[in-house]
């Protein structure tokens, strides 16, 4: 794996500096990082996450003398476009993007085009705590091997958030969801399938309805796709008229959908954050009566990472930030739903007892599911499934 990584680097980049990632020593990295400014490009639509990133900036500033500048994005693809533009203009060093919060298709795009620095995660001391056994999504990002080109920082898993005042019978599977929607027309929707959350709604149903889900881990081909997704479209055709606005309109993304739930336009919504209900109640974005439910057979989960572009000006600073994000105290604070509410990427059996106690002492909420309730995490299918599902959905349902 390491040799493959080195060959990939030398073949793909050939800019010299990157090849030294292999031999970096941590104390050298920390020393070089002092005084650097890290431009962390991260989606800024959520205040709690922004506040957390600001807190990270303060802590690394105090401890390592690094300044973190949160470059606020509306969409991670903006960052990718920026690095592409810099490469187009010939700026191969001193880039303006140092660290990107990234995963899935954006990561795939950057890795394929050799736009990333790395592998670097083996240099980070805190990487030893990461759960690579049970949380496979830390090593495989949408079936693409990470190979050390990005460092994990938060977990996501599909859950459904519902208003317990209005939903009496909780659906536990895609088939039950259809039955529920037919009994309560117009009270369910999902984000547009162009959005990753909307696409995951269909992927989740596909896991249940596909004759053999293991084929989803392999790249999709036209024949495979047609055969595997036939039951999905049959199910969806029945669901569509029962959706909000009779399926002619969809919220653009997760937060827009959450606003619909808050406005009482819908009663049930899909979310990637298991702590969404608890966090939203705390922030006043959803009423107190919302609760979380998980499908019986498990739901799709993935990891969010941070990656460093090949031309970043402050690579060492970025690595220090990535390492700080993996520190048990930081992960515990991230899991606190009053702060951000994201479940940890760490293996709690690998951390020290004091750190484990921090996790045990985290505040509870009736809207917060326990680890046991979250059940099995299903791995994300290959990205080609998502792009094809989105294209097929647009073809069928865009008039």
């Amino acid at each position: 794996m390491r040799l493959f990584g080195v060959l990939l680097l030398l073949a793909g980049m050939g800019f010299g500096a990157a090849a030294q990632a292999q031999d970096l020593k941590w104390n050298e990295v920390v020393a070089k990082a002092r005084g650097q400014t890290v431009n962390w490009n991260a989606w800024a639509g959520d205040e709690k996450t922004n506040a957390f990133i600001a807190w990270v900036g303060e802590e690394v500033g105090r401890r390592y003398g690094i300044k973190v500048n949160h470059v606020k994005l509306k969409d991670t693809a903006e960052s990718v476009a920026r690095v592409v533009a810099e490469r187009a203009a010939g700026r191969n060093s001193d880039g303006t993007v140092d660290l990107i919060w990234i995963n899935g298709p954006n990561f795939l795009a950057m890795k394929q085009q050799s736009l990333l620095f790395g592998p670097f995660t083996h240099v980070l001391p805190n990487f030893a705590y990461v759960d690579t056994a049970r949380k496979r999504s830390n090593l495989i990002d949408f079936t693409i091997p990470v190979d050390g080109f990005e460092s994990p920082w938060r977990m996501a898993q599909i859950v459904f958030v519902y208003d317990s005042k209005r939903v009496q019978q909780m659906p536990g599977s895609a088939v039950e969801l259809l039955a529920w929607a037919k009994k309560n027309p117009g009270r369910l929707t999902h984000p547009s399938v162009r959005n990753f959350l909307g696409a995951t709604f269909l992927k989740q149903a596909l896991y249940e309805l596909a004759p053999d889900p293991s084929v989803l881990q392999t790249p999709a081909t036209d024949e495979k796709f047609a055969a595997v997704t036939t039951p999905l479209w049959a199910w969806y055709e029945q669901l569509l008229p029962a959706l909000w606005r009779q399926g002619r309109q969809f919220p653009e993304n997760g937060p827009a959908q959450r606003q619909l739930l808050n406005d009482a336009e819908i009663d049930l919504m899909i979310s990637f954050n298991p702590a969404e209900a608890a966090v939203s109640i705390d922030a006043g974005l959803l009423p107190d009566s919302v609760r979380t439910l998980v499908f019986a057979k498990g739901t799709i989960g993935n990891t969010s990472f941070v990656a460093i572009p090949y031309n970043a000006a402050s690579k060492e600073g970025a690595m220090v930030v990535a390492d700080f994000l993996l520190e048990p105290a930081t992960q515990a604070r991230a899991q606190d739903f009053r702060q951000m509410g994201n479940f940890t990427v760490l293996d709690l059996s690998k951390v020290s007892p004091e750190a484990r106690k921090r996790f045990d002492d985290l505040p509870k909420s009736p809207a917060l599911p326990t680890n046991a309730e979250l059940g099995t995490t299903l791995l994300e299918p290959h990205p080609s499934w998502m792009t094809r599902i989105a294209a097929e959905w647009e073809k069928r349902y865009t008039k």
Binding site: E47, L73, R82, A109, F250, P255, A264
Partner: protein, 559 residues
């Protein structure tokens, strides 16, 4: 002074050329940075084969044309009826909050107002309607685009009214009306038959800007317009931002098509104008003392009232949200209030607010100097500059911003100029200058040359004429044009993003990223903040002439 037109064009030429190249070349398949090295029509093919292509073009055209026609009808009709009323003198002040608020803020406010779970329904539920949950009706984001047309009208009608009022100050309105009324025409008829034909040439450019905007608007279409399929502009933006970089080619094709549509509609409008001029002359000459004009104008005035009320309600709604803790359906008002939302905002405000102000002031000042220079040069040389040179100015208004700015960004990165405040000011200048030019050009050109001749015959140099005679008389149009320009700068999002490379934060960039979190309290607070600076500029523009010229009746009066 003679250098001004050349300087203006030079400031423009580079980014515009880069921008157009950045749009047209990828539309035909050429973009080496992502592997497109041969000219082909793949981008166009992908665009045409997109499932919703025809509906997208149809909805773009219908909403664009309907909005423009309605905006012109309502603006002129309202002015026809209300021109003589006392408070019209201060119409700039009345319209200031609406003109100052960014398009997205008004759009989000309107969406909250008319949605099935929105304020109007909340105020009426459940006591009148019996609804405990909102009805499943599409009033926002409907496929036909009604909500989009309404949202665009809310901003465009006040803008046109402001332009009309500015133009009226250059025409001897009272004298014309006095003569027409003495001939037996009703007040509204007189205005439409005597004043409108005279000021229309001055409003033509703003109308073209309205047409271009209605066709290529992105943020309002995202909030109020249909999404499946969306308008062509939204489609282009979606594809430009797609993670799959190969979408650049159809995106550039869509942007080019949009540009062609804008040019086509403007050309069609020009054609209709010619016909209307011919027909209109015969209609006026026929001499009917009473036609349907008064009725039509009354309808338009009523529509204006509705538009005005909706805009205010939209802004008030967002203001209420900014003070709310929670506001559930079907409560007519928030259950709990707090200042916590505002207190949280204060932390992140100082830097963006200061940068917004600085960038806006600098862009407006530079633009003003260039525009006045060009116009003065034109007046002194007694000829209009070639149409070609000045058309260059309007390209930023016609080409969708996304397409344009990618090319400009590559240029800035090559010059190592990106990420600086100066680069952002330059990027804003590209959009501020056309608005300032077209708001100021016709009032400036309509300036009575006899004033300058009299001053010259008394021995004043051209520079003295400019500063001592022309600018004071034209102070109101100048200040209004500056206020418009400043508001345009404050509202810029993509320009700041591209030129600043994410390093320069303004109120609008922060507002847009926070709007992604769909928290109406945050959006409400930022909308008010975004509106604050332009609001002050508009109020300043409305109040300053009255103050300065309190003792000069000729200058302070409005027809």
């Amino acid at each position: 002074m003679r250098a001004a037109p050349a300087l203006t064009v030079a400031v423009f030429l580079l980014p515009i050329a880069a921008g157009l190249v950045g749009t047209l070349l990828p539309a035909f398949g050429y973009l080496p940075a992502i592997g497109g090295s041969a000219f082909n029509l793949d981008g166009w093919r992908r665009l045409a084969s997109y499932p919703g292509f025809r509906s997208s073009v149809a909805v773009t055209l219908t909403t664009g044309v309907v909005t423009s026609v309605l905006a012109v009808f309502v603006a002129f009709g309202f002015c026809a009826i209300a021109h003589g009323l006392g408070w019209m003198r201060r119409i700039g002040g009345w319209l200031a909050p609406i003109l100052a608020a960014p398009h997205s803020a008004i759009a989000i406010g309107l969406a909250f107002l008319i949605a099935p779970s929105g304020w109007i329904v909340r105020a009426l539920s459940p006591w009148l309607t019996g609804w405990t949950v909102p009805p499943d009706v599409a009033t926002v984001g409907d496929a036909a685009g009604f909500a989009l047309v309404l949202g665009l009208l809310l901003k465009e009608v006040p803008y046109l009214v402001l332009m009309i009022v500015g133009a009226m100050s250059q025409v001897p309105v009272q004298q014309h009306l006095a003569i027409a009324r003495s001939l037996g025409y009703a007040s509204t008829e007189s205005w439409v038959k005597t004043i409108l034909p005279q000021i229309y040439p001055q409003i033509r450019l703003p109308i073209y800007a309205v047409i271009a905007f209605s066709l290529s608007v992105v943020d309002v279409a995202l909030i109020l317009g249909p999404s499946n399929p969306p308008t062509l502009a939204v489609l282009a933006v979606r594809w430009f931002a797609d993670a799959d970089i190969q979408f650049y080619f159809p995106a550039a094709a869509a942007a080019t098509l949009l540009l062609l549509l804008v040019v086509a509609v403007i050309a069609a409008w020009f054609g209709v104008e010619r016909i209307a001029i011919g027909l209109g002359r015969r209609w006026i000459a026929r001499g009917r003392r009473r036609s349907g004009v008064t009725f039509g104008a009354s309808v338009a005035a009523g529509a204006f009232g509705i538009v005005f009320a909706l805009s205010l309600a939209a802004l008030v709604g967002m203001a209420l949200w900014s003070f709310a803790v929670q506001w559930r359906f079907p409560d007519a008002l928030p259950q709990a209030w707090s200042l916590a939302n505002w207190m949280r905002r204060l932390d992140g405000l100082a830097v963006p607010a200061w940068q917004t102000l600085l960038i806006g002031a600098m862009a407006t000042a530079i633009a003003l100097v260039l525009v006045v220079g060009c116009l003065e040069n034109e007046a002194r040389a007694r000829r209009r500059p070639g149409a070609g040179a000045l058309w260059m100015l309007y390209v930023p208004l016609l080409v969708p911003q996304v397409a344009f700015l990618f090319g400009a960004q590559v240029l800035l990165v090559r010059a190592n100029f990106d990420g600086t405040l100066a680069a952002v000011v330059w990027a804003h200048l590209i959009f501020v200058l056309p608005y300032l030019f077209l708001s100021l050009a016709d009032p400036w050109r309509a300036f009575d040359p006899r004033y300058a001749r009299t001053a010259a015959s008394l021995g004043a140099s051209p520079a003295r004429v400019l500063f001592a005679i022309k600018l004071p008389i034209l102070l109101r149009p100048v200040l209004i044009a500056c206020a418009v320009a400043f508001a345009v700068s404050v509202g810029q999002y993509l320009a700041t993003l591209f030129a600043g490379n994410g390093r320069v934060a303004t109120l609008t960039t922060d507002a847009v990223t926070l709007a992604g979190g769909a928290d109406r309290r945050v959006i409400g607070a930022y909308s008010l903040l975004q509106a604050l600076f332009p609001l002050l500029a508009y109020l300043f523009a409305a109040a300053l002439p009255a103050l300065l010229f309190a003792r000069r009746r000729g200058l302070a009066a409005t027809p």
